[in-house]
């Protein structure tokens, strides 16, 4: 049981987080756009998250918090 939280307003849509998730559950939310003009990253199927924090670790904008 793990949880990731995105501070979406900080996200710059760089996609780095999407490349490291072992569960492939981090994706870009192309439907939304934050106030900086970027599509933010988000997690689908949160229940698959193992809380490895890889996504957070690689995020250059410290967008992601991970709990486990």
């Amino acid at each position: 049981m793990a949880k990731v939280t995105f501070n979406e307003e900080l996200c710059k849509g760089c996609q780095l987080c999407t490349t490291v998730c072992p569960k492939n559950i981090v994706i870009m939310d192309t439907k939304r756009i934050n106030s900086k003009g970027y599509h933010p990253a988000t997690v689908v199927e949160m229940d698959k998250c193992i809380g490895c924090a890889f996504c957070a670790r690689i995020c250059p904008d410290v967008v992601i918090e991970v709990e486990r």
């Binding site: 760089c14 970027y38 670790r57 904008d61 410290v62």
Partner: protein
């Protein structure tokens, strides 16, 4: 549930101004985590460069000094000599450290100045819009090497870590990368070590971090990580270049 990853205390709340996917942000985060883990935030004084990280003084949640371009090691020397019990670090780009500031880093290292240097090598001048750095790879196209870096006229990329490893005062020098999780973790260990070396008074410590500049490399952030792996690391071998007990 406990937090396994959260914003380090040694970072302020200020959002980074870096371009999307620029790994300066990752490196900031690593430095801040190390400061937190070592419990030295209250005695750390950071020196910001001139380069994309010029606003580092807004991000690191400790006392900060914004240096002139290339002179961070001299500024850090001034601070460290006044406060020998504090922890002083510089954060510098490759233009800042390897080009205009090469004299300052060589001599800080040679004096065995007890400071820690985080050297962000992204093979280009980010802030000024993509000029050639001394670390730009052969053939790399930049605004000032529009036909690709040519070794006959511009020389080969300089391996600063290997060069500084030759001076006696350097106590710890390692090159790391942040292009994947494994390497990010290694980078963190190296940075921690570089601060510990200072705390133990052993001498000068530097970590060279291979980093991206998606904007001026003209690549996506994801492609940029790959470019580090495929192009930079073969020329800039990772690992410890010097370690003194």
């Amino acid at each position: 549930m406990t937090k396994v990853f959260e914003r380090p205390k040694a970072l302020t709340d200020k959002p980074f101004h870096y371009c999307p996917g620029c790994t300066h942000g990752i490196i900031h985060c690593l430095v801040a985590e190390v400061i937190d883990e070592l419990g030295i935030r209250e005695k750390t004084i950071g020196v910001a460069p001139v380069g994309c990280a010029v606003f580092a003084y807004e991000y690191f949640n400790c006392d900060m000094h914004e240096a002139a371009h290339g002179r961070a090691p001299a500024v850090a020397t001034g601070i460290k000599r006044v406060h020998p019990d504090n922890v002083v670090f510089t954060y510098q780009g490759d233009g800042d450290l390897a080009s205009i500031g090469i004299a300052e880093i060589v001599h800080a290292a040679n004096r065995g100045e007890k400071i820690t240097t985080i050297f962000v090598n992204n093979a280009i001048y980010g802030m000024t819009g993509g000029q050639m750095a001394p670390t730009s790879l052969l053939g790399q196209v930049t605004t000032t090497s529009p036909y690709g870096r040519n070794p006959d006229t511009e020389g080969h990329p300089i391996r600063v870590s290997e060069m500084l490893a030759t001076v006696e005062g350097a106590a710890f020098i390692e090159r790391v990368s942040v292009h994947d999780i494994k390497n990010i973790n290694k980078a963190k260990r190296a940075i921690k070590k570089a601060f510990q070396v200072q705390l133990e008074g052993k001498g000068f410590a530097m970590v060279e971090v291979l980093s991206t500049c998606p904007t001026n490399w003209g690549m996506t952030p994801v492609e940029s990580l790959k470019w580090i792996e495929e192009n930079m690391i073969p020329y800039y071998p990772l690992g410890i270049k010097k370690e003194v007990d």
